[in-house]
């Protein structure tokens, strides 16, 4: 199985310095574990051992003027990173579409949403359309599917819910932050990793088309309660939005509480009997 992972020019949320986007590093781990499973290894072994890797099986792609700290992805378990050299104002889509179209990848992984600018999460959809691939968002676990050429993936839904999908490859999948944490960084693996620079497809965009702003963590939306409603109603709306069914018990006995929790877990299908 050949896997491509897309890397965007991220910035650290607090320092504002160029940095890899964590969810894209998580994609490396998902890809490695998938390859490890396919090779019949225990997934953990394959993931933990950064020195032994099948080169060329997992390739990273970045379209931009400079790979910068993205070469650190090589220290997180990626063995080969291809930088498609384009201007800072160029649209990365044509370069990525050309590069991914030239080699046939079974699976393309991308981050869920970026950290501002053009890597705002639209690119994977545009790329899927350009390549004619199906796209599934928010994967948090990947496994080989029941038939050859299929993939079983777990999709992260709000409030911790998960949905398992079976998908025919090739496909493009975006990764959710609920996926396992990135593999720890290994300096020597980064040093050993292969960074390849190719000419990208120049695709200048009209200036001013995209407004760029520094990344800022958005406040959580609590409730859709109508403005001007009473405090009780807003509280009710907020707590109901956070609870999705179930009952509010005030100061219950431990037995009652445990019974209620079990009943709720059965209801939402976490417990089966």
């Amino acid at each position: 199985m050949k896997i491509a992972i897309l890397f965007s020019a991220g910035r650290h949320a607090a320092s504002g310095r160029p940095a890899p986007v964590p969810v894209e590093l998580q994609a490396i781990r998902l890809a490695r574990e998938l390859i490890g499973q396919a090779a019949g290894d225990a997934a953990g072994d394959a993931a933990g051992d950064l020195s032994g890797d099948a080169p060329g099986v997992i390739t990273g792609f970045h379209a931009g003027p400079d790979a910068g700290p993205l070469k650190d992805a090589l220290g997180h378990g990626l063995s080969r990173l291809v930088q498609l050299s384009i201007g800072a104002q160029d649209d990365p889509l044509p370069s990525l579409a050309a590069a991914l179209g030239a080699e046939r990848f079974d699976l393309v992984l991308a981050g869920r949403s970026g950290q501002g600018g053009e890597d705002a999460g639209l690119l994977p959809y545009a790329l899927a359309r350009a390549l004619g691939l199906p796209i599934v968002a928010d994967a948090c676990a990947l496994a080989a599917g029941p038939q050859p050429g299929t993939l079983s993936l777990e999709q992260a839904l709000p409030r911790g819910a998960r949905r398992r999908l079976i998908l025919r490859l090739p496909a493009l999948i975006t990764v959710h932050p609920a996926a396992p944490a990135p593999l720890p960084f290994a300096f020597a693996a980064m040093r050993r990793g292969m960074l390849e620079t190719r000419e990208g497809v120049p695709a200048p965009r009209a200036a001013g088309e995209v407004e760029e702003r520094a990344y800022r963590a958005r406040p959580k939306l609590i409730a859709k309660s109508a403005a001007g409603a009473s405090a009780t109603e807003r509280l009710k709306a907020a707590t109901e939005a956070a609870s999705s069914g179930g009952r509010l018990l005030v100061d219950p006995s431990p037995e009652d509480a445990a019974r209620e929790i079990l009943a709720h877990l059965r209801q939402i299908g976490v417990l089966r009997h």
Binding site: A13, S15, L50, S51, P184, F185, F187
Partner: protein
């Protein structure tokens, strides 16, 4: 032939020959072991200097450590002195002029009598019950071999001194000496006697010769990041003098009783670790011969190794959890009579795990990642470091370009609890009119955490960037309340071109008080015990200034059983809080129990890590206060007293009020 040229007795002459052949055998066995050391990486060693310094290093430095256990010191002096003295003299008796003299044999008998007494003392320590810290196995038969050899030698020499009056005793005694001596010599290769020659060699080629010249010599050695393989994977990756050091271990177990991770039931036992490293040097090695206390809650390992086989891993000698349990507190190094550098070995192994394999504990990886992209292990904005000082004026050095004292805030500044300490310190500096400034958003993490976790690449980058920042400003001293930052800036940046005079806030405040720039009222009736931070006490030898400072505050100072350079770690160093290896107890709980046992109501600390670890202990316990907070309390008590004195005009009332103040439980400062 004149009578004087004859050997005193035939048995005595045979004893000399036996010792000669045993010495030959011993040399062969030593050579065999020493050849294994050549597997190690070559490093430049000042042989001449080491050889010249050997007697002093042994008689002064080693015995300074051994002498902390007076019984062991007497035992070792008698056993080693008697054994070497008696054997050496008996060997010289092959010179006819000496061998024929009865007085000379009396001298030999005396030496062997000393060795016999030492051997009996070795036995009394191990029988009937062997203390848990001592190893069994080959070590348990050592007293028998010692007493056999010494008793045999004594009787033969005694008989010779009497001119052969006891021939019936001499020949059986010679047999006894041969049995014991042969046993001892065969223990050179793998048994306890290896420590004698490996220990001497270690003293000659010691990797930190500065330790014998009054330096603390505790800075980690920089790693060449361009080397083909980073850190230590196999025994052959160690420098050869490190391998000599592992072989020097006599398994006395002092390290194991000092190790905080061992006490907490985490899978680390420094003695076992050194033994595993020493055993792995042998081709087709196993760890089966070790007969001391195991790693507590040991994780299963295959226990196989060799000079070119990996040391760490479930399929090797040492489980990774063992490495990551270490708090790098150096208590083992401080206690080791053989001057072994355990912490250096652990860091070398960690470097390989981190830099080559990326095999860190899961929770240790995110802080290193934040350090790479935000220069701060919590991933917080550097500008937020000064948030603790909201409401205080904190001069930035950027504004003026110079200051007398540069205040290095460190990692603790982000923490609410330690922010109170820094507020107290800043308030005191302002009261004393000190010309100080901070780097503010230009201060990056000092890199201590990254370096202890084996991420030398990040440490070296942070060090270079901090040194470049510091080079832009002019200041005479760096003041810090963080001993980890102090150690990095004072000792470890030197290798990267940053030489600074760095002073800890306890020494600085002590100076301010001594110079009369701050006046304190007494904090009466408070009983306080001082917890030495490892990186200040053991790493930098600063144990007096904090105590002097506490005494100036009029506090009743109580000492814990483990204090000063032999203090116990709080569990906060070496990245242990982020590695978070599971044990049975928590290290800070153990340390807090020791503090409570003194009866003190306050534990004085001088380090953000200690502050966080000890303040995290739950239940009934003494209060935790940084010394800066106590000084501020005392200064405020003093000024309150002065104010009242002015108002009331009566000294007596002022004293009462001050006493009432001190009786109150200490409040958060500032």
């Amino acid at each position: 032939m004149t009578p004087i040229m004859n050997p005193a007795t035939p048995a005595a002459f045979c004893l000399s020959l036996v010792i000669l052949s045993l010495a030959g055998l011993a040399l062969a066995l030593m050579a065999r072991r020493a050849r294994l050391w050549c597997a190690g990486r070559p490093v430049p060693v000042e042989w001449a200097r080491g050889l010249r310094a050997l007697p002093k290093r042994y008689l002064v430095d080693v015995h300074h450590v051994v002498g902390r256990d007076p019984y062991a010191a007497r035992m070792h002096a008698l056993a080693a002195g008697g054994l070497l003295g008696g054997s050496g003299l008996a060997l010289l008796a092959l010179i006819p002029a000496l061998g024929g003299a009865r007085l000379y044999w009396a001298l030999i008998a005396l030496a062997f009598a000393g060795a016999l007494a030492g051997g009996v003392m070795v036995g009394r320590r191990r029988y009937p019950a062997r203390p848990a810290r001592l190893s069994g196995g080959r070590f348990q038969i050592l007293p028998l071999l010692l007493t056999f050899y010494a008793a045999g030698g004594f009787l033969v020499a005694f008989d010779a001194a009497l001119g052969g009056a006891l021939p019936a005793l001499a020949w059986p005694a010679l047999a006894l000496a041969i049995a014991g001596g042969l046993g001892l010599v065969l223990q050179i290769d793998r048994g306890p006697m290896r420590h004698a020659f490996a220990g001497a060699a270690h003293l000659v080629v010691h990797p930190r010769p500065g330790r014998f010249e009054g330096e603390r010599a505790t800075a980690l050695a920089p790693l060449d990041l361009d080397a083909p393989r980073l850190g230590v994977a196999t025994p052959a990756d160690f420098a050869f003098n490190r391998l000599v050091g592992f072989d020097a271990c006599i398994q006395c177990g002092r390290c194991e009783t000092a190790c905080p991770a061992f006490a907490a039931g985490q899978p680390l036992n420094p003695k076992r670790l050194i033994q595993d490293l020493a055993a792995a040097l042998q081709p087709n090695a196993t760890n089966a011969t070790y007969k001391g206390s195991p790693y507590p809650n040991a994780r299963a390992v295959a226990g196989i190794g060799g000079p070119d086989l990996p040391l760490v891993g479930a399929g090797a000698m040492i489980h990774p959890d063992t490495l990551w349990s270490c708090t790098t507190c150096r208590a083992c190094v401080e206690e080791c009579p053989m001057m072994i550098e355990h912490v250096d070995a652990i860091i070398d192994l960690r470097r390989h795990q981190t830099l080559e394999l990326g095999a860190l504990p899961a929770k240790a990886s995110p802080p290193l990642m934040e350090l790479r992209y935000a220069d701060e292990p919590g991933g917080r904005a550097l500008a937020a470091r000064t948030d603790f000082a909201a409401g205080l004026t904190l001069p930035l050095i950027l504004a003026t370009g110079r200051a007398d004292v540069l205040l290095w805030l460190g990692e603790g500044a982000y923490e609410l609890r330690y922010g109170r300490t820094l507020r107290a310190l800043v308030t005191l500096l302002q009261m004393a009119g000190v010309d100080f400034a901070v780097l503010g958003p230009e201060e990056r993490d000092c890199g201590d955490l990254a370096r202890r976790l084996g991420d030398e690449a990040t440490f070296q980058r942070l060090a270079a960037e901090n040194i470049a920042t510091l080079a832009r400003y002019s200041f005479s001293r760096i003041l810090t309340a963080d001993p980890h930052a102090l150690h990095a800036l004072r000792n470890e940046y030197r290798a990267f071109g940053g030489a600074y005079e760095v002073i800890h806030h306890t020494a600085f405040l002590d100076g301010l008080l001594a110079g009369g720039r701050l006046t304190v009222g007494a904090l009466h009736e408070a009983r306080v015990t001082y917890h030495d931070p490892c990186y200040l006490g053991r790493y930098n030898g600063e144990i007096d200034a904090p105590r002097r400072l506490l005494d100036r505050l009029g506090l009743a100072r109580l000492e814990m059983e483990r204090a000063g350079k032999r203090s116990m770690c709080c569990g906060g160093g070496g990245g242990a809080p982020v590695s978070d290896i599971e044990g049975e107890r928590r290290i800070p709980d153990i340390r807090m129990a020791q503090a409570a046992a003194t009866g003190a109501g306050i534990v004085a600390v001088a380090c953000p890590q200690c502050s966080a670890m000890l303040d995290g202990v739950t239940g009934e316990r003494p209060e935790v206060h940084d010394i800066a907070e106590l000084v501020l309390m005392a200064v405020e008590a003093g000024s309150a007293k002065a104010a009242r004195k002015d108002a009331a005009g009566k000294d007596v009332a002022g004293k009462d009020a001050a006493r009432k103040d001190a009786a109150r439980p200490p409040e958060p400062v500032a």
